[in-house]
Amino acid sequence: MSDTDKKVDLNQEPEEKLWAYMAEFDSADDVIHAAEKVRDAGFTKWDVHTPFPVHGLDKAMGVRPTILPWLVLAGGLTGMTTAIVLQWYTNMVEGPWDFSGYAFKISGKPNSLVGLPAMVPVIFELTVLFSALTAVFGSLALNGLPRHYFAAWRNRRFDRATSDRFCVVIEADDPQAGKAKALLAGLGGRGEVEELHDTTKSDALPKGIKWAIISMVLLSWIPFAMILRKRYTPSESPPIHVVPNMDWQQKFKPQSPSTIFDDGRAMRLPVAGAVARGSLDHVDANGHDAFSSGKNADGSFLQMMPIDATDKLMARGQRQYNIYCIACHGQLGEGDGLVSQRAFALQEANWIQPSKLSTDPLIHAREDGYIFDAITNGIRTMKGYGAQLSAEDRWAIVLWVRALQSSRLRDIDTLPKDIQAKLRGN
C-alpha cells in the first residue's frame, strides 16, 4: 500500500478504486493450468483462492516452501530447554531469595541433572506443547491471520471461492497489471473476468476498537499492580482467610487461655492426691520406690537388681533389647547397630558411637542400678526410655545386658563345671 492511500481524509466520501482482476474456474485441474500460465507470464502480485488445498497448485504457482518447520523446530527446542530448566530450578535449587526453588530429596535419588530419567515425561510433553503452539500460531501469523478485511470479500462472486469455485486473482498493483485482464480472459474460465474494487476508506481497525483494546490492556494491569503493592506493604490486620481450612475449631489447644475456669487455663490439673495407676506397687514404708528408680533411699545405685533372674525374664529382656536397643547398640551390644553404621558411613560429625555394653569393662563393673538408670532417664546423647518401658521390662533388659557381658568378659573358669564342659565341646 502506498503512502497516498494512508493519508485519506476520513470526512470525504470514500471512493471506489480498482483493486484486482479475478477469473473463476470450475475445477481444480483447470485452475492448475491457469496458474501455470499466469506464473509463466511473470506476474508477482497474485494468488489462487480454492475451497480446499489443491495438490499441484504450489508447483504451478511457484510457491516456495514455508519456513514453518524451522520455526516449529525452534519452538520444540525452546520447550525442551524450558522443561529442563523448570524442573532443575524448582526441584533442585534452593536459596535465600524470593521464589526460590525447593531441593526435594526423594528416596535418596540424585538431586541433580543425574536424575534426568524422571524428568523425561515432562520434557517430552513441553517439547510437543511448544512445537504445536508454534505450528498453529506460527502458521496463522505467516498467513496474516487473524485479519478483519479482505478486498475480495466485497464481491459476491468471490463467496463461492470457499465452496465450489476456483478463483485466480491478479492485483492491480502488479507491474504487469495492464496485461492481466486479457490474459485471464484467454484462460477459459467461466463467465466474464471480474474487476474487484476496493474502497479508499482506510482498512485499519475502527479507532474506537483500537482504543478499547488499549484501555482494556492497561486496565488489566491494575489488579496485578494492587497485588504487588500489597505484597510490599506491611499491615497490622490479620491475613485474609478465603478458605478456613479447619484453622478455627470449637476446642482448646494445650497451654491456651480459657474464660471457663477460675484459673484462666484451658488445661486442668489432676485433683490433689491423684496417683498414677500402678505407681504405688513398689513403694516401701518410707515412701521410697527402689524398684522403679534403681536407687537406694540415699540416692546410690542398687548393687543388685530387685527382681528374680529367671529364664522367662531373660527371654523378655532379649526381646525388649532387640526392639528398643539393638538399633544403636547392636545385637551383641558392641555399639555397632545399623544407626551407628549408617551415621559413620555418612560421616556425621556430631555422632558419638554408642557404648559397647558387652565389652566395655567399665560398664561391666558398674551397679545394676546404674544401667537401669541409664535406660530410664537416658545418658549423654541417648534419650530415656522410662516412658516407653515398664520398670519390670527395664530390669529385664539389664539382665540381658549382663548376659551379653558374661558372654564376652567373663572368665570361663568361673562358670559351673557342666557349662564349662559344654562350651569347651567335650
Binding site: P51, H55, P69, N91, A132
Partner: protein
C-alpha cells in the same frame, strides 16, 4: 506429484479402492449438506435433537449439583475409603481419557498413514476427544480434597516457595493431559478454520456472518494460506502421534510406578494405549451411527467407514485380550507371591464379577466382528460398541479397586462400595459430554468439508452448471 494422488486415479486403482463417499456428490452438494446443518432454522431442526439436548443439559445440571455437594461436604460423600482411596473418580478419569484417544488417532496417525477414509469422521472424532478430555479433567480436579488449591498442581511462583514434585507420575499426568487437551483443541480448531470460512461466506444473516467470520479469523482460501496450513497440519499430525501414545502411557505410570501388586507391571503403557484406542473407536462408532442418521450424513459416513472402524475395534480388542493373558502369565511366571495372589484374586476373588464383565465385554463379544455381516449390521455394532465401553470402564475399575482393596497386609483389606453420589457424578459427566457434543453437531461443521473435497475425484466433483 499427481501420479500419487488418488483423485487422479486410474480405473484399475478404483477397482481396489471403492469411492470414499456414497451416491453422486460434487463440491456444491457437499458444502450444502455439511454447512446446511448449522444454518437450520428451528423448525428444520429435528425434534430428536431438542429432546436429546434437554436430557443432556439436565444431566449436566445434575453433575453441577453433585460437584457443589461434594465441595460443600467433602470427599466423604463418595465411597472412597480405607483401603481403596482411589475409587470411581480415578476410574472415571482413566475411562474418559481413554475415550479421548480415538480422535487424535484418527486425525493424526491415520493422516500420516494416508488413510483417506478418515476425512469423513475425523472432525467429530476430534470433537469427541476434546469433550471426553474435558470430562476426564474434572475428576482429578474434584478429587484433590481441597479443590480450591488445585492450582498447586501447576508450577506457579508463589510466596511460599512451594513447587510441584516433578519426580511423581501424578505430576507427569498434569502435564500430559493438559498438553493433550491443548494440542487436540488446537488441531481441531486449526482444521476447522477453512470450514468456518465457508459457512461465513454462505451466511444469509449478519449475525451469522459476524460470528462465524470471527472464528474463521479472516481465512480467504488463498493457495499461499493453504500451503502453510497444510504444512502446519502435517507438523501437528507428526507431533500429535507420539503425544497420543504418550498420554495414556503417562496415565498408566500413575499405577505402574506404584509398588502395589497388580499395578507394578511394565506392560501397562502399551496395554493402556491399546485399550484407549479400543474404547475411543467404540465411542466413535456409537456416536457416528445416530449422528449420520439424524444429521443426514449417510452418504459421507458410509457403511465402509463404520466397517473400517469395527475392524480397528476387533484388532485392538485382541491386543487388549493379549495383554490380559500376558498379565496372568507373568503373574505366574514371575514367581512373586503377592503378584500371583493379586491376579488370582482378580480372576476368582470377590471382584471376579467385575473381572469377567470386563473380559467378556472387551475380548469375547468383539470377536463377533470377524463376521462381515455383523460388522455391517447397525444394531449389532451399536450393541457391541456400547458393551466395549462398559467393559473398558470395568477394566479401569478392576485395576484400581481390586489392587487397592487387597494389598500386602491382610489386616488392611477391605471391600469398596460406591455411593449414590459416585454414580450420579459419573452419569452427570455423560451430560457434559453429550451437551457439548450436541451443540457441536448442531452449530459447527461436523464433517471436515475441505478435507472431504480434497479427496474427491476432481473431474466428477466439479460443478459445471450454474
Amino acid at each position: 506429484m499427481t501420479t500419487l494422488d488418488p483423485s487422479h486415479a486410474s480405473e484399475a486403482f478404483k477397482e481396489f479402492r471403492p469411492p470414499l463417499l456414497d451416491g453422486k456428490n460434487d463440491y456444491k452438494t457437499i458444502t450444502d449438506q455439511i454447512c446446511g446443518v448449522p444454518e437450520w432454522s428451528h423448525s428444520e431442526t429435528p425434534k430428536a435433537w431438542y429432546i436429546a439436548f434437554t436430557i443432556a443439559v439436565s444431566m449436566l445440571g445434575m453433575l453441577g449439583a453433585m460437584i457443589a455437594w461434594l465441595f460443600w461436604m467433602g470427599v466423604g460423600v463418595w465411597g472412597n475409603n480405607n483401603p481403596a482411596f482411589w475409587g470411581w473418580p480415578i476410574v472415571n478419569f482413566v475411562f474418559w481419557v481413554g475415550i479421548g484417544h480415538a480422535g487424535t488417532l484418527i486425525s493424526a496417525i491415520l493422516f500420516l498413514f494416508r488413510q483417506k477414509w478418515r476425512t469423513s469422521i475425523n472432525r467429530f472424532a476430534e470433537a469427541m476427544t476434546i469433550f471426553a478430555v474435558a470430562c476426564a479433567a474434572i475428576f482429578p480436579g474434584i478429587h484433590v480434597g481441597r479443590p480450591w488449591v488445585a492450582y498447586w498442581l501447576f508450577p506457579i511462583p508463589n510466596q511460599m516457595d512451594m513447587w510441584p514434585q516433578f519426580r511423581s507420575p501424578l505430576l507427569w499426568d498434569v502435564f500430559a493431559v493438559s498438553t493433550y487437551a491443548t494440542v487436540s483443541l488446537l488441531f481441531w480448531y486449526l482444521g476447522m478454520i477453512p470450514d468456518l470460512a465457508t459457512i461465513r461466506d454462505r451466511a444469509t444473516t449478519p449475525v451469522r456472518r459476524f460470528l462465524y467470520g470471527l472464528f474463521a479469523m479472516g481465512w480467504n482460501g488463498s493457495n499461499r494460506q493453504w500451503h502453510r496450513f497444510e504444512r502446519a497440519y502435517l507438523l501437528l499430525a507428526a507431533l500429535a502421534t507420539p503425544l497420543v501414545l504418550s498420554v495414556h502411557s503417562v496415565v498408566s505410570f500413575d499405577f505402574a510406578v506404584a509398588q502395589l501388586p497388580g499395578w507394578h507391571t511394565t506392560i501397562f503403557p502399551p496395554y493402556f494405549v491399546a485399550g484407549a484406542i479400543f474404547s475411543g473407536f467404540a465411542m466413535v462408532v456409537s456416536l457416528a451411527v445416530p449422528a449420520r442418521q439424524f444429521f443426514g450424513m449417510k452418504n459421507l459416513i458410509t457403511m465402509r467407514h463404520l466397517e473400517a472402524m469395527n475392524k480397528v475395534i476387533l484388532a485392538t480388542s485382541m491386543m487388549v485380550g493379549y495383554a490380559y493373558l500376558t498379565e496372568l502369565f507373568i503373574a505366574w511366571y514371575g514367581g512373586n507371591p503377592y503378584e500371583r495372589f493379586a491376579f488370582l484374586n482378580r480372576v476368582m476373588g470377590n471382584y471376579s464379577w467385575a473381572y469377567w464383565s470386563m473380559f467378556s465385554c472387551n475380548v469375547i463379544f468383539p470377536q463377533l466382528f470377524w463376521f462381515k455381516k455383523i460388522r455391517r449390521s447397525i444394531p449389532l455394532m451399536m450393541i457391541i460398541c456400547v458393551l466395549v465401553n462398559v467393559g473398558m470402564w470395568f477394566e479401569r475399575f478392576v485395576i484400581t479397586v481390586t489392587s487397592l482393596s487387597r494389598d500386602f497386609v491382610p489386616s488392611s483389606w477391605g471391600y469398596f462400595t460406591p455411593t449414590l453420589i459416585d454414580a450420579l457424578t459419573f452419569i452427570g459427566s455423560f451430560g457434559l459430554f453429550f451437551t457439548l457434543f450436541l451443540l457441536f453437531c448442531r452449530w459447527l461443521p461436523m464433517v471436515a468439508v475441505a478435507e472431504v473435497k480434497a479427496d474427491m475425484p476432481r473431474d466428477e466433483a466439479a460443478v459445471k452448471g450454474a
